[in-house]
């Protein structure tokens, strides 16, 4: 197993109280595998990724429990200096908004080359040459000339390619992509996603794809973990989930995708709002919005039931949920 997150807990201490952003998340990723983490904003999907990466804003963020095993090593027990050497070199991250994630006052060549200078001790000149290679690799036209340009001089899609190139620079074993295409035009989204998938296959990297876009997931992911209020509510191989979700929240997400064969019908929307992380509802956190909620949902927190060898669902009534698929 490349990455194995076990029972991770993260909380944020703010003026208004303690926000429990991640409450016992466990997931794992194998080499060459793509895990899609789905959820609304505030579901804890990004915070989990930041904890894995070791870039949690701290304070106010704090890891209060759990383990993050990466290539057999618990990252949470490493010293900061050792942890730093893992970042960028063995695991890398792609951020959502490349315009703000890239440094506005340094040329892209400097920012790419920096990876080689710091982690590989290369000279500036060699690092620059590698930066050009990388830009070629992610198919940026005229890389040799554009290496001196600044981030704002590139289009959105090209900027995101530079982010990808930066993440790939040292051929890490794991890439975490946090909504890598959300900020892009729809036409560009597919190109960037294809590029990422292609490079992942080529280097046999593990990929954690954080997104709220189910359309993207179906094409590239092997497995899906659905998060709600800092917990994983369902995890399954990608095709099983599309065929028959085992959690009412997942079903709600799937039903709210516009589909051509339902043209003219009203689009389904999950009622209500995501919970406030400072006051997560007792029992199943989803019960106030759940169409099948019953009394025990308000009091008993459902464990992650084993649906099959590769599937889990944190719903008391996952069987009903699977059956209702044929409604």
């Amino acid at each position: 197993m490349l990455l194995d997150v076990r029972d991770l807990h993260v909380e944020f201490r703010t003026r208004d109280g303690v926000a429990r952003a991640v409450n016992g998340v466990s997931y794992s990723v194998d080499a060459g595998e793509t895990l899609a983490v789905l959820g609304e904003s505030g579901s804890g999907k990004s915070v989990t990724a930041q904890a894995v990466m070791g870039i949690l804003d701290s304070p106010p963020g704090r890891i209060t429990g759990g383990e993050i095993l990466f290539q057999g090593q618990d990252l949470l027990t490493l010293k900061e200096e050792e942890r730093r050497k893992v970042r960028g070199a063995r695991m890398a991250m792609i951020f959502q908004d490349a315009l703000s994630a890239l440094n506005p006052v340094l040329s892209v060549g400097d920012q790419l080359g920096e990876m080689f200078e710091v982690h590989r001790g290369m000279s500036r000149k060699d690092a620059r040459a590698r930066a050009v290679e990388l830009m070629d690799r992610v198919r940026i036209p005229g890389a040799a000339q554009r290496v001196r340009d600044y981030p704002h001089q590139f289009s959105g899609g090209m900027r995101q390619r530079i982010m990808i190139a930066m993440a790939l620079a040292l051929e890490p074993a794991l890439i975490i992509a946090d909504e890598p295409t959300t900020a892009l035009d729809v036409t560009v989204q597919a190109q960037v996603m294809d590029l990422l998938a292609e490079l992942q296959r080529e280097y046999r990297m593990g990929l954690i794809l954080i997104t709220h876009d189910l359309g993207v997931v179906a094409d590239v992911a092997d497995r899906i973990a659905v998060m709600y209020a800092g917990r994983i509510v369902e995890t399954a191989p990608v095709h099983d989930i599309y065929k028959a979700p085992a959690h009412p929240y997942t079903r709600g997400l799937l039903d709210s995708i516009p589909r051509l064969d339902q043209k003219g019908q009203e689009l389904y929307a999950i009622k209500g709002l995501p919970p406030n992380l400072m006051h997560i509802p007792a029992g199943c956190a989803f019960h106030p919005r759940c169409p099948m909620a019953r009394d025990e949902c308000r009091t008993d927190e459902p464990p992650l039931h084993e649906v099959s060898a590769e599937r889990g669902s944190a719903c008391h009534f996952w069987r009903e949920c699977l059956d209702e698929r044929t409604r």
């Binding site: 990466m53 870039i55 804003d57 730093r84 050497k85 893992v86 970042r87 960028g88 070199a89 890398a92 991250m93 951020f95 908004d97 703000s100 994630a101 890239l102 440094n103 506005p104 006052v105 340094l106 920096e114 990876m115 710091v118 982690h119 600044y150 704002h152 930066m166």
Partner: protein, 307 residues
């Protein structure tokens, strides 16, 4: 870029004219400029009238202004009433004040930015609190009190430096006056750097730099500092003009014969031509410094392009 500079230079003209006209009018309400010339007694009317004609003071103010500006562009800054050309006074005063300003700016850059980075990256820690309180004290104690107290301590009590500066006013003698002159701006630079650093520290590109596995030192110096210093450089640049004009108090405390001293003497002795001449140069320095700061801005932040 070239066109931008030309346009800015053109824009400077009305500001220059306005500011010099404003000071010209202010100086002209200073009262009777020839009154101070006849010693302690009042001038007799005939002498006064003759003096006024001599200096062109019998003309309307606007005409005096036009004449003065006309002369200025031929390099004639007029004559102080004691007969010394104003330009000679400038030649002796400006080098001194420029040295003083250089010392002050160095203090702002070295001490101010260092303290700002130190506190900005350690918000809420003891060192942050201590420095923050110190900057507040420096800001709230008026410069003349700071100057008098430091002069007493370093100059009179401990004999580390000479309490007053000699006529040469070399760099060594100007360290303490430079610190006094810089003190308030120094505190601002510290606070501004701190705020800027603290704000940028949460930005996405700093998070990216951390995620790239860069050592903390590199994240701070290469990524955080370069972005955070843009407003600080702006401040320091615009401060140059303010420091040179604001050295009146400092120069008075340490008896430095620079621009502030000459201005003070000119005002006290109601010496119109001296005051207007020096202020005109100061206004020019201020405007040029501002232009340079704006251009520097484009160098520091590649997103800014002047067209």
């Amino acid at each position: 870029m070239g066109r931008y500079i030309v346009r800015r230079l053109l824009q400077m003209i009305p500001v220059f004219i306005g500011a010099t006209l404003l000071i010209f009018l202010m100086v002209n309400v200073m009262g009777d400029p020839v009154a101070g010339l006849c010693g302690d007694r009042a001038c007799d009317p005939a002498t006064a009238a003759q003096l006024k004609r001599e200096f062109g003071l019998d003309m309307p103010v606007w005409q005096q202004y036009v004449t003065y500006m006309g002369n200025l562009f031929t390099g004639d800054f007029g004559t102080a009433f004691n007969g010394e050309p104003v330009i000679d006074l400038m030649a002796s005063a400006f080098p001194v004040t420029i040295r003083l300003t250089v010392v002050a700016i160095l203090f702002e850059i070295v001490v101010g930015i260092t303290l700002g980075v130190l506190t900005g990256t350690r918000r809420g820690k003891p060192v942050d609190t201590v420095v923050l309180v110190l900057t507040l004290i420096v800001i709230s104690v008026p410069v003349f009190v700071t100057g008098l107290v430091l002069q007493l301590l370093f100059g009179v009590e401990w004999h580390w430096v000479e309490p007053s500066v000699s006529a040469e006013a070399n760099f060594g003698e100007l360290i303490l006056p430079g610190l006094v002159l810089a003190s308030v701006s120094l505190a601002y630079v510290t606070r501004l750097t701190r705020t800027s650093i603290a704000e940028n520290r949460r930005s996405d590109y700093v998070r990216t730099a951390v995620a790239k596995g860069l050592p903390r030192r590199r994240v701070v110096t290469r990524h955080l500092l370069r972005n955070s210093l843009i407003p600080v450089v702006t401040f320091i640049g615009t401060d140059i003009g303010a420091l040179m004009g604001g050295a009146i108090v400092t120069e008075r405390i340490f008896n430095i014969h620079g621009v502030g001293y000459q201005l003070y003497q000119g005002i006290v002795r109601q010496n119109t031509q001296t005051v207007v001449g020096f202020v005109t140069v100061l206004v020019l320095v201020f405007l040029v410094a501002n232009l340079i700061v704006d251009l520097l801005y484009a160098v520091l932040d590649p997103r800014i392009r002047y067209a």
